[in-house]
Every structure is written in C-alpha cells, then in structure tokens.
C-alpha cells in the first residue's frame, strides 16, 4: 500500500497563522482606483474563502462537560457571535462546523460519523477538550471510550483543556477562520491512487 500526501492547493497555512506581525485580515484582492469608484481584482477562491470563514455556523453538538463551556462561549460574556459563529444549528444539514464538545464513546461513534456525513461541504471539525483529542481522563482502564474523535472523523483544529476555557475555544475558532482564509484544505491522503 502506497500512502502519499496530496499537494495542498492553497498557500502554506502555517506561515499565515504563525506570522508574528500578522495584520487583521483584509478583504482579499487588489482595488484598482478608477474614476467614480474602483475595480476589485483577486482570485475568486480567496473571496469565497473570506466570506466562508466569517459565517461559520456551528452544530449544537455536545455530549458532556465541554458543552457547558461551549454554552458559556455562546453566552453574553464571551459571545462567539462577534466572530461570525452566531447561528448555532441543531441540524447538521445547516451547519458548517462541528465542535466535538465532549467524550465520544463507542456507541456514539457511528452517530458522530453519520452527523458528519450529513453536513454539506465544505465542513470543518474542531475537537474540543481532552476527551475529543485523545480520550483524555478516560484514556486508561476504560472499555467504552473512543480514544480521540479523529479515529472517527477528520479534525481541523484541536483545543486542549478539560474543559477548555471559553477563550481557548474562541482561539480555536479564530484559528479555523485563519485556516480557511489562507486557503488551507484538509490534507487528502492518497492510498493506491485513490482519494479518501
């Protein structure tokens, strides 16, 4: 079996997110001044990604404790609607990003997979908290816990904590936005020439 990483189509996202002199994201493209206005020119993909990143609708998916911190992030003090995550949807068909808030156990894993499959492309995943990253406090000596949600669905951003503070979740959401803005796509893996 030959495993090859497909070439990422966008710019290197690590450069964008690790740049210390990072400016606030501007509208992508160049404006050519013309009498009475201007003409914006830029790659369509950048404009689409810019729009996409600023209106991500999360799925209200919470299995356990992290769900409460997710609610805190949505509530008045932290208010993630400031960054475009206002509309939390209860159905996967209307959601763009799934925040895995809580432990995934063996019985829940097929449900999570199904929810992910029901989401329309492009879709993004944030693994919130230690349980979703690796099983966390339930890693050892348990018979029913999936040791990390990435065994079930691919994950874009991981947030550490048990549970993470709302600021940490906000940082993860902003990181996801940066990832989308810079055209970063999830790396596809080719196995024997076949995309999965």
């Amino acid at each position: 079996m030959r495993i090859k990483k497909a070439r990422s189509s966008g710019r290197d996202i690590r450069v964008a997110s690790m740049n210390p002199d990072k400016q606030p994201a501007k509208f992508p493209g160049l404006v050519h001044e013309t009498p009475g206005g201007g003409i914006l020119s830029g790659p369509l993909e950048d404009v689409v990604n810019w729009a996409r990143s600023n209106s991500l609708w999360p799925l209200t998916f919470a299995t356990s404790c992290c769900g409460i911190e997710m609610m805190s992030t949505a509530a008045a003090k932290y208010d993630f609607s400031r960054f475009g995550f206002e509309v939390a949807r209860a159905t996967p068909r209307q959601a763009d990003v799934i925040i895995i808030a809580g432990t995934i156990v063996n019985k829940m894993a097929p449900v999570l997979k199904r929810l992910y499959d029901q989401m329309a492309d492009p879709k993004y995943v944030i693994a919130m908290g230690a349980c979703a990253i690796s099983g966390g406090p339930f890693f050892y000596n348990t018979y029913s816990v999936v040791k990390g949600a990435d065994h079930v669905i691919p994950v874009d951003v991981y947030v550490a904590g048990c549970p993470p503070r709302p600021e940490a979740l906000l940082h993860a959401l902003i990181t996801l936005q940066e990832k989308i803005k810079s055209g970063g796509k999830r790396e596809r893996i080719d196995i024997d020439g076949k995309n999965i």
């Binding site: 356990s64 805190s72 829940m108 449900v111 339930f138």
Partner: protein
C-alpha cells in the same frame, strides 16, 4: 443507532428523538410512540455517553477516583466530589477540620445556584424564550470566576480531597462572594418577572406532566423533581452531612407535582442556597483547610456509603474496599437515572410539545445518568 421509525398495529407513529437533539440536553435517545400529537409511550435509550467511570475507578487510587466524578454530573461537580471524599473519610475515620467543612458547604451551595441558574436559562429556552439564557449566564459567570480563583478551574473543580479541600480559599473569595450575593439578590426578582409570571410560560407548564407523590416515591425520584411532588427527600435535612444540621434553611416542598411546581421548587432553592451562603460567608473559621493524611491512602476492608444532595437530587457513593490501594468496587447512585425512569409515566397522555417542557423540568444531565 436504533432504527425504529414506523407505525404500530394500532396506527401509532414511532419516532426517534436524539441522540442529536437540542431538547434532550445531551445525547439521550428517546423512542416515542405517538397517537396523533399525544404521547403514548417514551422509551429512553441510554449509553451514548457511557464512559465506564465506575470500572475506571477500580484502578485509580483513593485520591484519584474522586476526579472522575467531576465529569459525571458536571453541574454539581463540587457536591459529587464531596460525596466521594466523605466515603473515603468514613473508611479512614478522618476528622475534617471545621474550616474545610464550611468551605465545602459554601462551594456546594454556590454550585447549586450555578446549576439551577443554568437550568433556568435552559428551561426557558426549551419553552421558546431565548433571552433568559443570557441573563442566566451573566450570573453563572460570576460563580465561575469565584471557582476559578479558589479551585483553579471553572467547571470541573476537583477541589475536595479526603480530609478537607485541596487549597485554602483565595484572598478575594470573601469579596467576590459578597459581590455575587448583592448582584444575585438584585437579579432574582428580574428572573421572576421574565419567566415565572409570564402568561405563556404558565400556560405551558401548569398542570402539565403531573407526577403524584406515590409515583415519585415508587420511581425513586429525588431532588427538586421529587420534592415538587411532595416527597421530603432533601438529604441535607433528612440525613444531614457536613455542617448542614447547624444551618438555618428550609426544605422546599411543592404540592402539585406538575412542571410549574418543579420550576417553583428550584427557584425557591436558589433563595435558600443564597441564605446559607449569607450565613457562612462572614463566619469562616480560622484553622486548617485539610486534615493531616498519609501520602498514600489505604481504606480498611469494608463497605462504606455516603449520600449528598446534589442540584439534581440524592447522590450516593457505595465504596467497597478490600484494604488495597484502589477501591474494589465503586457504585454511584445518580439522581438523574431515577428521575429519568419517571419520564415515561409522566409524559404518557401529554402532547409531544409538552414532552420538551417536562424533560426540561426534570433537569437531566446525561453523563450523570450514563456514567
């Protein structure tokens, strides 16, 4: 996932609610049999968040196993920890210093308020009012800040250890709690104004989902759910632990046993918790916050049981020790499990829209049920 959508012989419709559904407050799966809009039967399916905490605890030491309980009923994390710490203390025959006792009760009552406040916001949201959720979290964040300063975490505090509490309280604790009391006293009438007196809310909840006293006892309902049906089941009163026998507070008992009654009991409990905090906050005794214990705890052979009143009801810890470094068996009696068992009985004959209101008033925390 169980696929049971279809119709029965009588032409009744069978539908699935959950595990991904906003009204189930987690990952509960209900298979509902409907006759038109009337609910005929509700069958809860559990296990979507079964994390095998009881089995896991058998391989953790007597200090470590307490922390897993913060993740069970995460809205009553302190109170769960308290129950476990008490079970170990019973085994070791430890005397907990007075200061630790007072801090434990203070933290427990703050947790109870935080839990009830969150429930109030979620309950209103279930019925269709979105704004109360933001009001509720404003007060909840104040408690979270207090917890963070003293315990180091906002939600899963892990503050109780066998013999006392892990650290002494933060110097700001007294001032912060005073601020919270002042704020919460000012805002509680606002809560009543927003929801309690609301005509729509009353129409949706009064006489809906009546649970009689006999049924509440036979299903083992406890906490506000049981008390709303007239059962005097407040462990703080009927089997006092800690310093509750020396405190002045009332056990709130309802009469009707309907959704509105369960709502009122919780609203009154917040006032009682506030009253307890007011009694204690100026009277925290000086002294040790933790009894002297050995680094490695070995509970003598035997069986120990401790029970506390969490925000959801009677929480019990059954600890069996064979004298080793880890518990031989841990069994938790979680209030949510028994309360959930009464759901089917309560909901039968009600409309499907009321199911959400009734479930909201039961205040279920699913990881507490599944463990």
């Amino acid at each position: 996932m169980v696929e049971e959508i279809g119709t029965t012989d009588k032409g009744e419709l069978i539908i699935n609610v959950g595990p991904q559904h906003p009204a189930t407050h987690g990952v509960l799966h209900l298979v509902i049999t409907l006759d038109g809009e009337t609910v005929r039967k509700v069958e809860p399916h559990l296990g979507y968040i079964h994390r095998s905490i009881e089995k896991m605890s058998e391989s953790l030491s007597y200090r470590q196993f307490i922390y897993a309980t913060s993740r069970m009923d995460y809205l009553s994390a302190h109170i769960n920890n308290h129950a476990c710490a008490m079970a170990v203390e019973k085994g070791l025959q430890l005397e907990v210093p007075e200061r630790a006792q007072v801090i434990r009760v203070l933290m427990g009552e703050l947790t109870r308020i935080a839990s009830h406040v969150l429930w109030w916001g979620a309950m209103a949201m279930d019925i269709g009012a979105f704004t109360p959720f933001f009001h509720a979290f404003r007060e909840r964040e104040m408690i979270n800040d207090i917890m963070e300063e003293s315990c180091g975490a906002r939600l899963t505090m892990n503050y109780m250890v066998p013999g006392g509490v892990m650290y002494d309280i933060h110097p700001n604790f007294h001032r912060r709690v005073k601020e919270f009391i002042a704020q919460f006293k000012r805002k509680l009438p606002e809560y009543d104004e927003l929801v309690t007196g609301n005509t729509i809310f009353r129409a949706r909840t009064r006489g809906v989902g009546v649970l009689s006293k006999e049924d509440a006892i036979s299903y083992g309902c406890s906490g506000p759910t049981g008390r709303a049906s007239g059962v005097d089941c407040d462990i703080r009163k009927v089997q006092p632990y800690g310093i509750y026998d020396r405190l002045d507070f009332r056990q709130i008992i309802g009469k009707e046993g309907d959704t509105y009654s369960r709502y009122l009991v919780r609203m009154q409990e917040m006032r009682q918790s506030l009253h307890i905090i007011e009694q204690l906050i100026d009277n925290i005794p000086e002294g040790d916050f933790q009894a002297k214990t050995k680094a490695v705890l070995k509970v003598p052979k035997g069986e120990y049981y401790s029970r506390v009143e969490t925000a959801r009801g009677d929480f019990g810890v059954y600890l069996v020790s064979e004298g080793g470094l880890t518990p031989y068996r841990i069994k938790y009696r979680s209030p949510g499990f028994s309360n959930l068992s009464a759901l089917d009985h309560t909901v039968r004959g009600q409309k499907i829209g009321d199911l959400v209101a009734i479930m909201g008033s039961f205040d279920l925390v699913i990881p507490d049920i599944d463990r």
